[in-house]
C-alpha cells in the first residue's frame, strides 16, 4: 500500500502525541454541568426546560431552531439550576443550561449495553432522523450538524463517504484511541452512514503515525470490500476536509465549494461512532472522547467526557494543573483556542485540552519579512500569506478578495513556519472578516 498525501504545501510540526496508547477512561461526573445551547454551526437551539425542572440523562433540553441546527440533550441527571448566559470557550457569554448533578438515570429506550449491534435494515429516512434526534454534529471541530450533510443537495450526487481518521493536530489522540477501542462499532457506523447517504464506496484515511489504528480498522472492515483503509503520509493539515479529499481521491473541492461538489461527503471517525450509537442504540450525543495533555501534565489521558463538564474538572482528574502552566488550549496547538477561564464547559466539538508551559506559551517578537517565501511554500491552499497580511494591514480588501483570502482554512501553517515570527494568520483573519462583510453586503443588494 503506497502512502498518499495532499499535494500542495503542508508542514510537519513535532507530533507530541504524549497520550497515545492511553485507554479511554471515564473521569466521572462533576457536581455541576453547564450545557450551552449552541454547540454547533448554525442557529442556537431553543431551550425546552426551566429553572427547577428535573432532567434525566439523554433527555432533550433544547430543540432545533431551523434546518441547520440540532437537538441538545442533558448529559446528566439532575436539577436545572439556571438557564442563563455563561462564558463559553471563546470567552463570549452565551445561553446555556446549568444543572446540579444527581445520580445518573437515563431516559427510557436507550440501549446502554456494550454489545455490538449490526442492524442494517433501517431506511435512509430513519437513519437521517435518528442522527438529527441524537443531536449529532461533526466532532472533528467544525460541529456542522450531521443530518444536513446526509441530505445531498439537488443536482449533486454523493459517490464516496470519506472518514477522517487523520488527527493531524499535534498532541491530540482522541480519535486515535477511539479507533483502537471501537473499531467494530466504527465500521458498523460507516455502513450505516453509507446507507444514509446512498453511496457504495467508503474510504477511511489514517496517517501512518498510527499503524495500530490502521491495523485494527483494516481487520474490522475486512469483510466489506467497499470500505477501504488508506494509510497517509504524516503531514499537517491533512485532517482539513479539502486536503483529505484531495489526498484520497485527487479531487479538488472548488474554491468556495463543499466536498459534495466533487461527489464526496466527509465525516470524522468520532462522528461515525456517535452515529453508530445513535442509530443502533438510540443513544444521543452527550459524551465524547477528550484528550487532556501537555508536556508537564501528570497523567495525560483520553477521557470519555460528558458534555458540559468544566475544563477544570478534567484538569484535576489528569493530575491537577501543573505549576508551570501558562496557556490552556481548547483543541490542538495549531487550530485550538486559548482559554482565559477554566470553568468553561466541554462541548460536542472539544477534542482536547492542551496545557502549555510558560516557556512555550509566548510569541516571539515580530521581525521584518525577509521574503523567504516559506509561507507561500507551506500554504495548502496555494495562497500568498505574506501578501495577504500586508494587504489586510493596509485595508486593501478588493485585492485581498482577488488573492483568494476567503479560501484560507486558517490552518496556521504560514504563521508556524515564519522565521520572522510574523502574525500572518492574525491579519489574514482580520482580512477575511472584512472581505466576508463586503461579500455579504454585495449579495444583499
Amino acid at each position: 500500500m503506497g502512502l498518499l498525501t495532499f499535494s500542495r504545501g503542508g508542514i510537519h510540526p513535532p507530533e507530541n502525541k504524549i497520550s497515545a496508547g492511553k485507554l479511554i477512561e471515564s473521569p466521572g461526573q462533576p457536581e455541576i454541568v453547564i450545557i450551552p445551547v449552541s454547540q454547533h454551526l448554525g442557529a442556537p437551539s431553543k431551550v425546552l426546560v426551566n429553572r427547577g425542572d428535573t432532567v434525566k440523562t439523554g433527555q432533550v433540553i433544547a430543540e432545533p431552531n431551523g434546518f441547520v441546527s440540532t437537538n441538545i440533550h442533558s448529559s446528566v441527571t439532575g436539577k436545572v439550576l439556571k438557564v442563563d448566559l455563561f462564558p463559553d470557550s471563546s470567552g463570549y457569554r452565551r445561553q446555556a443550561v446549568q444543572i446540579q448533578v444527581a445520580e445518573d438515570e437515563w431516559v427510557d429506550g436507550i440501549d446502554l449495553s456494550e454489545d455490538l449491534v449490526k442492524d442494517f435494515n433501517l431506511s435512509t429516512e430513519e437513519i437521517r432522523n435518528k442522527v438529527l434526534q441524537a443531536g449529532i454534529v461533526g466532532l472533528g471541530g467544525a460541529t456542522f450538524p450531521s443530518h444536513v450533510k446526509l441530505m445531498t443537495p439537488k443536482g449533486k450526487t454523493a459517490e464516496y463517504l470519506i472518514i477522517n481518521g487523520v488527527e493531524c493536530e499535534p498532541y491530540l489522540t482522541a480519535d486515535h484511541s477511539l479507533m483502537l477501542e471501537k473499531s467494530a462499532e466504527i465500521v458498523v457506523g460507516i455502513r450505516i452512514m453509507m446507507k444514509g447517504l446512498g453511496v457504495e464506496k467508503a474510504i477511511i484515511g489514517i496517517e501512518n503515525n498510527k499503524p495500530d489504528a490502521i491495523e485494527v480498522i483494516t481487520k474490522a472492515s475486512a469483510e466489506y470490500n467497499n470500505i477501504k483503509v488508506q494509510p497517509l503520509k504524516v503531514q499537517y493539515p491533512q485532517g482539513g476536509e479539502k486536503q483529505l479529499v484531495q489526498a484520497l481521491l485527487k479531487r479538488e473541492v472548488p474554491s468556495g465549494g463543499l466536498p459534495i461538489d466533487v461527489g464526496v461527503v466527509a465525516f470524522n471517525v468520532g462522528t461515525i461512532y456517535a452515529a453508530y450509537l445513535a442509530v443502533q442504540k438510540n443513544r444521543p450525543l452527550i459524551e465524547r472522547v477528550v484528550t487532556i495533555t501537555g508536556k508537564s501534565v501528570k497523567n495525560p489521558s483520553n477521557f470519555l467526557t460528558r458534555v458540559g463538564t468544566p475544563v477544570s474538572f478534567l484538569v484535576e482528574k489528569a493530575g491537577g494543573l501543573p505549576e508551570d502552566t501558562a496557556k490552556v488550549i481548547n483543541g490542538g496547538p495549531m487550530m485550538g483556542k486559548a482559554l482565559s477561564n477554566l470553568d468553561v464547559p466541554i462541548v460536542k466539538g472539544s477534542s482536547g485540552i492542551l496545557l502549555i508551559k510558560e516557556d512555550e506559551a509566548h510569541r516571539k517578537e515580530m521581525q521584518s519579512c525577509i521574503r523567504c517565501s516559506k509561507c507561500v511554500t507551506v500554504c495548502p491552499m496555494g495562497l500568498e500569506p505574506y501578501l495577504l497580511m500586508t494587504q489586510a494591514e493596509k485595508g486593501m480588501f478588493e485585492d485581498l478578495e482577488d488573492n483568494k483570502v476567503m479560501d484560507c482554512i486558517e490552518c496556521g501553517s504560514c504563521a508556524y513556519t515564519c522565521p520572522s515570527s510574523r502574525p500572518l494568520l492574525d491579519y489574514i483573519r482580520l482580512g477575511k472578516a472584512e472581505v466576508g462583510k463586503i461579500i455579504r453586503s454585495r449579495k444583499a443588494v
Binding site: 473541492v253 474554491s255 486559548a338 521574503r371 491552499m381 496555494g382 513556519t417
Partner: protein, 330 residues
C-alpha cells in the same frame, strides 16, 4: 494561579529564525572560505575581515544615527553581506576600497530601502558593481593563486574568462584552451578570480548543504546553471572554434557564486516557485549574452541585478497554483 496567556492560533512555532537561517548560509560557505584561504592566504583573510566588520559597523551606525531604529546589525544579514561582498573581490584589492564597497552595499544597497527585507537589489552585488565601475583597474587585476603571504604586492594575471574574451579577437578557442588552467584546476579553484568564486567544488558542496538544510530550494541555482549550460552548449555545437564549451562556462567566473549565493538571496528573489524558475532562466540567458556578446568577460553580476529589478513584477503576476477551481455560478 497566574493569569493565562490568551492569543490566537497557531500556538506552536517553528524553531527557525532569521539569524539561524543566515548562520546556516554562512556555514555552507565554510568550504569555499577554506579553499580560498588555501589559494589566496593572508590577503583573503584581510579582505573578508575588513568587509564583514565594515558591513556590520555601517549597518549599526546607519540604524542608530540616521534611521534611529532598533539595532539590527547582529541579525546575521550584515555579516553575510560582508562575507559575500568579500568573496566577489580580487585578493589584492586595497582594504579601503573594500570599506567603500561595504558602505555602498549596506548604505545604498540595503538601508536606503528601509533595511532587511525591503531592498530591491542584492546588497553585496550593489557594492561589488559600484567598486567594479569606480575602480576598474583594481577590480580586474587578479592575483595568481598560491602566493599566500602576499597581499597588494601579488603577481597578477587575467581570469580564464578574461583570457577568453581578449584572446578570441585573434585566436581560436582550441588554441586558447592550451593556455588555460586544466578543468580539474578550474573545478577545485586553482585559477585567477575573485577570492570566493574560484572554487566550483566548494561552492557545490555549499549548495548541497543549503538544499539539505532546506534553507533554499533547487529552483534558482539549478535553473541558472542548466540555462547557462544549455545556451553555451548550443553556441558551442554551432561553432566550437569561436565559442567555449559549456563546462568551461560553468566552472569559470562568478557563475557558481552568483547562482548559489547571490541569485538565491531571499529578499531579492521571487516568492513563488514558478517565478523563481522564470527569474533564473533569464539570469542564465543574460549571463550568456554578456559573456559571449557583451563588452565584459563576466556578466552574472549584471544579470542578477537586472533580474532583481523584475522580481516585484514577477511576484505580482506569477501566482502560486491555487487549490480548487472557481465554482461555476458561484
Amino acid at each position: 494561579m497566574n493569569k493565562l496567556v490568551v492569543s490566537p492560533s497557531p500556538h506552536a512555532r517553528t524553531k527557525e529564525s532569521v539569524p539561524k537561517l543566515m548562520y546556516g548560509v554562512m556555514i555552507s560557505l565554510v568550504p569555499a572560505l577554506a579553499v580560498s584561504i588555501y589559494f589566496f592566504g593572508i590577503s583573503m583573510l584581510i579582505i573578508t575581515a575588513v568587509s564583514i566588520v565594515s558591513c556590520v559597523l555601517f549597518e549599526f551606525l546607519i540604524q542608530k544615527f540616521i534611521l534611529k531604529g532598533k539595532p539590527s546589525h547582529l541579525d546575521g544579514s550584515a555579516i553575510l553581506t560582508g562575507m559575500l561582498l568579500a568573496f566577489t573581490l580580487p585578493a589584492n584589492i586595497p582594504f579601503w576600497m573594500v570599506m567603500i564597497g561595504a558602505l555602498v552595499a549596506i548604505g545604498i544597497g540595503k538601508m536606503t530601502f528601509g533595511g532587511l527585507g525591503n531592498n530591491i537589489f542584492n546588497p553585496a552585488l550593489v557594492g561589488r558593481v559600484f567598486l567594479f565601475i569606480s575602480f576598474p583597474v583594481a577590480m580586474t587585476s587578479w592575483p595568481e593563486p598560491l602566493q599566500r603571504l602576499k597581499y597588494i604586492d601579488a603577481e597578477t594575471g587575467a581570469t580564464p574568462l578574461g583570457m577568453l574574451k581578449e584572446g578570441l579577437a585573434n585566436q581560436d578557442v582550441s588554441e586558447l584552451m592550451t593556455e588555460m588552467p586544466s578543468y580539474m584546476d578550474l573545478f577545485i579553484g586553482k585559477m585567477m578570480g575573485s577570492v570566493g568564486e574560484v572554487a566550483a567544488l566548494a561552492l557545490l558542496i555549499g549548495l548541497i548543504y543549503l538544499l539539505i538544510k532546506k534553507i533554499i530550494t533547487w529552483h534558482i541555482p539549478v535553473t541558472i546553471l542548466l540555462t547557462v549550460a544549455f545556451f553555451t552548449g548550443i553556441l558551442w555545437l554551432i561553432n566550437p572554434e569561436s565559442y567555449a564549451d559549456p563546462l568551461f562556462h560553468l566552472l569559470t567566473g562568478g557563475l557558481m557564486l552568483g547562482a548559489i549565493y547571490m541569485a538565491t538571496d531571499y529578499v531579492t528573489s521571487p516568492m513563488t516557485k514558478k517565478g523563481m524558475v522564470i527569474y533564473a532562466v533569464f539570469i542564465g540567458i543574460i549571463t550568456v549574452l554578456i559573456r559571449v556578446f557583451g563588452a565584459y568577460p563576466e556578466g552574472v553580476q549584471f544579470a542578477i541585478l537586472i533580474m532583481n529589478a523584475f522580481v516585484p513584477l514577477l511576484n505580482k503576476y506569477i501566482k502560486p497554483k491555487r487549490f480548487g477551481k472557481e465554482l461555476k455560478n458561484g
